[in-house]
């Protein structure tokens, strides 16, 4: 596995000078994935923050082929590229192994691009799908997606006199992807770069469709200081909100276990989107949220235990 020293020697394929906000977790993920990836690669991405900040004509941050087509079709797009690669290889017009990566935000993955993703995975195209999950539609101004956690304030699930932010828990995309019987799926976040790198390497050791969900803090959308991106990413793991785990050939495995789990409030209190939960009247919601995280974590531990070989 590549360590930090090795990575520093790698050529930067996502160059500086892009237009992302200070503290953007998404571009960190893109950069880390590209550094970790086998080469050569061809990438696709949907419409969204990543596209807007990296490809304002005539500039591009991408030092690898990158195709942005539409919002809901990153997976269909990578299907078409990969199909072209298969046939052109068969015809002898391409004579090298190429790896394919699609990047999608949570909106382009959990919601509008979900059908295309399910289809592409079912068809067993050879690609890695990376979801850069910042838990809302940030590019359009912080609207709720099905990845938004319960109780988070967004501009379409605002906290109000009556409602405490989003009412529903987030969609468990990992379980849905795993239900497609992919060889490899994993969840990670930008604070744990070694975990992320290892997961990219593992995913690319499989030919079939693989999936990595990367939690990427968004200072603007989450309401935190840009300097806290890594801290918040780490706390999401240490509070068990975002356990680091992988699913490989039917086996669930935690890839990091905090020696002692921190209370969820440690993560929540740094984020403006959860500020209302700390009002006296919402105390019970904090408890409910903690209970939900605990139960979800226990379920995951159970899956790890039951599937262990």
């Amino acid at each position: 596995m590549k360590n930090l020293k090795d990575l520093l020697k790698e050529e930067e394929l996502f160059s500086s000078g892009h237009r992302a906000c200070a503290g953007c977790g998404e571009v960190l993920a893109a950069r880390q994935v590209l550094l970790a990836s086998k080469k050569p690669i061809v990438c696709a991405m949907p419409t969204g923050c990543l596209e807007i900040v990296s490809t304002i004509f005539p500039h591009t941050a991408w030092q690898v082929p990158m195709f942005h087509s539409a919002f809901e079709n990153a997976a269909a797009t990578i299907s078409g590229i990969e199909a072209a690669y298969q046939v052109l290889s068969r015809k002898g017009k391409i004579n090298k192994k190429i790896y394919f990566i699609a990047f999608g935000g949570d909106g382009g993955t959990y919601d509008i691009g979900f059908q295309a993703l399910s289809g592409a995975i079912e068809r067993r195209h050879s690609f890695l799908y990376v979801c850069t999950d910042n838990q809302a539609y940030m590019n359009t101004g912080i609207q709720r997606s099905s990845a938004t956690p319960q109780f988070a304030h967004t501009t379409t699930s605002p906290k109000g006199e009556k409602l405490p932010g989003k009412l529903q828990p987030r969609k468990d995309i990992m379980e849905i992807i795993i239900a497609h019987e992919v060889p490899y799926a994993a969840q990670t976040t930008v604070a744990f770069f070694q975990d992320l790198v290892r997961k990219v390497e593992k995913a690319q050791s499989y030919d079939g469709p693989t999936f990595i969900n990367i939690l990427v803090p968004c200072p603007l959308g989450w309401g935190h200081l840009p300097s806290l991106t890594i801290e918040i990413s780490r706390l999401a793991v240490e509070t068990n909100f975002w356990p680091l785990y992988e699913y490989e050939n039917g086996v669930y495995r935690l890839t990091y276990q905090p020696s002692q789990s921190k209370p969820l409030t440690e993560w929540l209190k740094l984020q403006g989107r959860f500020a209302h939960l700390f009002e006296e009247k919402n105390k019970h919601l904090l408890e409910e949220f903690q209970k939900y995280v605990n139960e979800k974590y226990q379920k995951l531990l159970k899956k790890c235990e039951l599937s262990a070989k």
């Binding site: 061809v42 596209e51 807007i52 690898v64 082929p65 299907s79 078409g80 072209a84």
Partner: protein, 389 residues
């Protein structure tokens, strides 16, 4: 070689000979057969194609776009709702100047649901930047599918070829096909200037363009469509020279001395020829224009031929829902506006949702048009419907 083929089979046969690199498609009546037949060519190893059985038409067009951008020759087929679902991607295909060929089997658009022929689906895509060529019968569909590949790659624009749902798609006709190797040599290799799989020369495709550059991209794209007719003419000319097959852009039938004429697209042209013959036998000077190329608008062809007609019936297999006729009616009138001598035009909406149109009904249209000869332009009722209760 002479074969008995339905319209769908003729297109599938042409696709087999084209041997595209990637076909991504989703089933929809009445176009399903095309990809069904084609997938059997894949299963039997007759073609080299990578066939992607996608989960929607949106993904079908998305995958074709991605494949074409990756240096592969890409084709698909659809109808109606499928084309409507592709709508967003049609603009992206043309905006990226990707030479994809799409075979549309014309069918009405819901609601109400109906699986039969009218032209609403492709006409509703008229502003998407695709070349659109309508075919009268299976033979034209076969020949045009082959030419479409070459036109698309010459013009760097995607091409839609259409046949009438069921009327042509499921009707068996005698067609003459070319030998495989002739088709192969005619279409040649697809060699795009840039492609995504050229990893040594990475490109970013589909960037965001702000107000400082978006307009220039669109202006350049418009220039592509302005030049498209020349590409079509060249390809049809070459096809004729090589295979002795005439592929018209605007076919004229008995129009030389015609006082009144109708213009239409698709299979109705065949029906209209019967009506013209019947009336000619009775001494009426009537004629037919069969418009094949709907996009680009073939201004010079329309102006040159239509200005000599006194009264023109514009047969439109679409209800434009505009309170002033459909696109064919409005565009032809607009093209004629600058002509000093120009025909009176009457819109006839017909055949929606597969309603049949007969030679007798077309004869009646001609007789009605003839009866308008001495009437004042402004007093003539412009919007007519054929065979609707």
């Amino acid at each position: 070689m002479i074969l008995a083929k339905t319209g769908n089979e003729a297109i599938a046969y042409a696709m087999k000979q084209i041997n595209p690199d990637v076909v991504a498609a989703y089933p929809i009546t009445p176009a399903t057969e095309i990809v069904q037949i084609f997938s059997s060519y894949v299963a039997d190893g007759i073609v080299d194609t990578e066939f992607i059985a996608v989960e929607s038409e949106h993904s079908a067009m998305s995958a074709c776009i991605a494949a074409a951008a990756s240096g592969a020759r890409a084709m698909t087929a659809t109808s109606s709702q499928g084309l409507a679902l592709m709508h967003e991607m049609l603009f992206i295909a043309s905006g990226l100047r990707l030479p994809i060929v799409l075979c549309v089997v014309n069918r009405s658009l819901s609601s109400p649901l109906n699986i039969h022929c009218d032209h609403t689906d492709s006409l509703a895509s008229r502003d998407s930047g695709w070349i659109q060529i309508f075919c009268e019968d299976a033979q034209e569909a076969y020949d045009t599918t082959i030419c479409a590949v070459k036109i698309a790659e010459k013009a760097l624009l995607p091409v839609m070829i259409t046949i009438d749902g069921f009327i042509i798609s499921h009707c068996m006709q005698k067609i003459e096909v070319l030998p495989d190797e002739e088709v192969k040599s005619f279409i040649g290799e697809y060699k795009p200037n840039y492609n995504l799989l050229d990893v040594e020369n990475p490109i970013t495709l589909g960037p965001a363009c702000l107000p400082d550059s978006f307009f220039e991209h669109k202006r350049a794209q418009a220039e592509g469509m302005n030049q498209a007719l020349t590409c079509i003419e060249k390809v049809f000319k070459e096809y004729k020279e090589r295979f002795d097959r005439e592929l018209p852009i605007l076919e004229e039938y008995q129009t030389e001395d015609a006082e009144v004429a109708i213009i239409c697209m698709g299979s109705t042209a065949g029906t209209s020829k019967v009506a013209v013959n019947n009336l000619r036998k009775k001494g009426y000077r009537v004629g037919l224009f069969k418009l094949r190329v709907f996009r680009p608008i073939v201004v010079k062809y329309l102006q040159r031929t239509l200005r000599n007609i006194k009264i023109l019936g514009i047969l439109e297999r679409m209800e434009g829902l505009s309170a002033f006729g459909g696109p064919l009616f409005n565009e032809i009138r607009s093209v004629l506006y600058d002509e000093i001598k120009r025909p009176i035009t009457v819109s006839y909406v017909y055949g929606l949702g597969g309603r049949e149109i007969t030679p007798e009904e077309i004869e009646e249209i001609f007789l009605e048009l003839l009866s308008l000869k001495n009437k004042k332009r402004k007093s003539i009722e412009k919007f007519k419907y054929i065979n609707v209760r």
